[in-house]
């Protein structure tokens, strides 16, 4: 998919200058996991902001800490995981300081979540209608009939055909695309201001993906909610995101607004991702897979974590870990964590 093709139907990027309207601000978030193989940081020193009406993409290969970031925001980490540092400010309020009950009031009502695999994320023994109705019921005192009507309305809103019939089906009887729409209906049932979507299209066929991404854009245009879109797919970023934070091995390595990321990538990892995307092959150019793989928690290198896969790595990369430095690019809020990013552009 070409980067420019969807520029038109995307809502204009909100003004990032005003600090007042920040919806979610994650500052220096570090999340550690403990397991049989010892402890490791899944997310290290991650900082980003989401404004109302903005879609922020968290981009990176599997194992880069994207999902851990999302679960940290909602305080849904598995038992082995723990936030050790940083702040998560939702409308200026630090979520980490909230009690369990207060956090529960935030989940679903203020911050909704869409999961990667809708079949696994829906209760296998309840009809999808019941599950949407449960979400509706949590949002307030409604009569049985009102809950039912609202649930059907939501299923219609996510563009499912025959919502009355689909509401009665068990999850395993529906296709992946339909299930993801159900999942989205559940996530928006309580009218959250922020939607966290963890790889919402990765388990779906390409044609179905486009429809889901379309739906996200439409819902965002209607409600003005912010979306944290976690993905490994540049095409998804190109279609929906206003900004992207590129993550590698637990760290954010590049932060850029939408077209700039594609037009003027600065980090060698971002460049490598762009060159390895299948759409490049579709345009008749060589597809260049990134050599090696994302290091596991125990294999992380000192210095720059990407240096073993980086074509321009030098001695200094092994010694000093590059910090995420803001770039002075006029009109775009950008940052990159590379000692040699000027060189990377010429790659």
């Amino acid at each position: 998919m070409k980067a420019g093709s969807t520029l038109r139907d995307r809502a204009p990027s909100p003004d990032r200058g005003s600090r007042r309207s920040v919806l979610l601000e994650v500052a220096a978030l570090t999340t550690r996991f403990e397991g049989a193989g010892g402890a490791w940081a899944a997310v290290e020193d991650a900082s980003f902001r989401i404004l109302p009406g903005e879609t922020l993409a968290l981009l990176g290969e599997s194992g880069c800490g994207k999902t851990a970031t999302a679960l940290s925001i909602l305080d849904l980490l598995p038992r082995s995981g723990r936030i050790v540092a940083g702040e998560i400010r939702y409308r200026g309020e630090d979520l980490r300081k909230l009690s369990r009950a207060e956090m529960r009031a935030i989940r679903g009502a203020e911050i909704g979540m869409v999961f990667q695999d809708p079949l696994a994320a829906l209760d296998p023994v309840q009809s999808v209608g019941q599950q949407v109705a449960e979400a509706v019921r949590l949002s307030g005192n409604l009569s049985r009939r009102q809950v039912r009507e609202r649930a059907i309305e939501l299923l219609g809103k996510v563009e499912l055909p025959e919502p009355e019939r689909i509401a009665r089906e068990l999850p395993h009887r529906l296709s992946g695309g339909m299930l993801q729409r159900v999942m989205i209906a559940i996530a928006i049932a309580r009218g959250p201001s922020l939607l966290v979507a963890d790889e919402p299209t990765s388990a779906l066929d390409t044609t179905v993906q486009a429809g889901i991404l379309d739906l996200f854009r439409r819902l965002q245009a209607e409600s003005g909610m912010g979306i944290l879109l976690i993905t490994h797919d540049l095409a998804v970023v190109a279609q929906n995101a206003h900004r992207a934070e590129v993550m590698y091995a637990g760290r954010i390595v590049e932060s850029a607004p939408f077209p700039d990321l594609f037009l003027r990538p600065r980090h060698p990892y971002t460049i490598a991702l762009l060159r390895s995307h299948p759409s490049r092959a579709a345009r008749g150019r060589r597809l260049e897979p990134i050599p090696g793989r994302v290091p596991g928690p125990a294999e992380r290198l000192s210095g720059c974590r990407f240096r073993d896969r980086c074509p321009i790595a030098k001695a200094r990369c092994a010694e000093v870990e590059p910090a995420l430095i803001p770039l002075s690019v006029p009109g775009a809020e950008r940052a990159v964590a590379c000692h040699y990013d000027e060189e990377a552009i010429r790659l």
Partner: protein, 452 residues
């Protein structure tokens, strides 16, 4: 991307169980037999009794009608009978009252409510009742105080505790050896009268007392399965015995299911200290020699305080719950971090709601399987206890205590028929349990399969 293999069982537990039973002829037959046995147990007072169902007029005040049989029912019996009748008519009244046949909840609630109201009204309105053992109604009919022609009698006109000493240890009456002459002597077989070779004395005859409504002295239907040491009809006692034997199995399974699910869910979901405590508790209970613990508890409980049926069921449950708890704990541990549980929390569900609505229904499969086998096991334990004389109190029969009525080889019917019923019922439980297992056991198919 779509995963569902069409032959893979999916959907909610009930419909899976239904499909599994429907697909297995043996399980279907077993279920039919069990339903028949349960029907007999529930309807026992209406099937066999020494009381008339309806008496047109009693001596003192002519024209007044009485229902001696219904008056002897307990509220619990009324509750079960009404429920049974409603269940039998279920297809009809569900069609009439609920347009959408898929709504099981309200139908069940309405049936339970109706039966409960019937029982309460009955309990409140009835006068002091005689215990359902023996009555003087037959004597009053025999003496002419009541005209037998105005009485409506139940199908089998004998009570489960009604003795007839002249017929002690009488073989099944369709056998030639059971024939008794009018004088009261067995006509043939080992019990025919023999003159003592020394004294020349012939044993005194014991003429059979045929009471109003009963089949004739040598009718094959008089005692189709023979009688016991007091001349009580074995067939009637087996029908009443089913009430004890079937309810102990069911009650114990229900109780151990409940305890096991609660303990297992708590251990699995909360983890930490709760899990540690419960897991050690499970191990300790599993180490008890269960049967001797049951003996100990039963010999120390007062049957007047806690009816034996309840105490047996409770004790079986108290030693049986760990097996269910372990299964539920393992399932809950597996599901606790499943995507859909995390999704429920992401939606803002409280921990209680998450565990009750999302975790438990998905974790119950193996527990239901274990419980369905526990019904048969509980029935067997009850039979063993009753055989040892630790079960229900005389004169209430249970299949186990009937087996122990006589150990004389000549009284084979007293061991054969109750033994066969125990065998039949436990086999049926296990056949149904096997179908339930095939429907629900995750080890037999991967019902949580998630494509990745």
């Amino acid at each position: 991307m779509r995963d569902a293999r069409p032959d893979e069982p999916r959907g909610d537990a009930l419909s899976r169980i239904r499909a599994a039973i429907r697909a297995r002829p043996f399980a279907r037959a077993a279920l039919a037999i069990l339903l028949l046995l349960y029907s007999a147990a529930i309807l026992a007072p209406l099937i066999a009794s020494d009381r008339p169902l309806l008496v047109g007029s009693s001596g003192g005040d002519p024209g007044r009608r009485r229902w001696p049989l219904l008056e002897a029912l307990s509220p619990l019996e009324v509750f079960l009978i009404v429920l049974w009748a409603l269940a039998l008519l279920a297809p009809l009244w569900r069609l009439a009252l609920f347009r959408r046949p898929s709504r099981r909840g309200p139908a069940l609630a309405a049936a339970l409510g109706a039966a409960l109201i019937a029982a309460l009204v009955f309990g409140a309105s009835s006068r002091a009742r005689a215990p359902f053992a023996t009555s003087d109604w037959k004597a009053r009919m025999a003496s002419g105080e009541i005209d037998p022609r105005t009485a409506v009698l139940p199908p089998i006109r004998m009570g489960f505790a009604e003795t007839n000493l002249a017929e002690a240890y009488r073989p099944p009456t369709w056998l030639h050896s059971a024939e008794i002459s009018e004088a009261g002597y067995y006509v043939r077989g080992p019990r025919a009268p023999v003159k003592d070779p020394v004294t020349g004395v012939v044993p005194a005859p014991s003429p059979v007392d045929v009471r109003p409504g009963e089949p004739a002295r040598n009718s094959p239907w008089r005692h189709p399965l023979g009688t016991d040491s007091l001349g009580r009809d074995l067939f009637v006692r087996l029908i009443y015995g089913a009430r004890v034997s079937l309810s102990v199995g069911l009650l114990s399974a229900a109780a151990l299911f409940l305890i096991g699910v609660l303990a297992g869910a708590a251990a699995g979901y909360f983890g930490g200290a709760v899990d540690l405590l419960l897991s050690r508790g499970i191990e300790v209970v599993l180490c008890f020699p269960a049967f001797f613990l049951v003996l100990l508890v039963l010999s120390s409980t007062d049957p007047d305080v806690l009816p034996p049926v309840l105490s047996i069921a409770l004790v079986i449950a108290l030693v049986g719950w760990p097996s269910v708890a372990r299964l539920v704990r393992a399932e809950v541990l597996r599901l606790r971090e499943a995507d859909f549980v995390v999704a429920a929390r992401a939606l803002g569900c409280s921990p209680a709601r998450t565990i009750l609505v999302h975790v438990l229904p998905n974790a119950l499969g193996p527990a239901i399987v274990a419980a369905s086998f526990a019904v048969g096991a509980g029935a067997l334990v009850e039979a063993a206890l009753s055989y040892l004389g630790l079960g229900v109190q005389h004169p209430i029969p249970s299949w186990g205590s009937l087996v122990s009525e006589s150990h004389h080889a000549g009284h084979w019917w007293l061991q054969l028929f109750p033994g066969l019923l125990i065998l039949l019922s436990v086999t049926c439980y296990n056949l149904v349990g096997e179908a339930v297992r095939e429907a629900l056991d995750p080890r037999l198919f991967d019902h949580q399969e998630t494509p990745r």
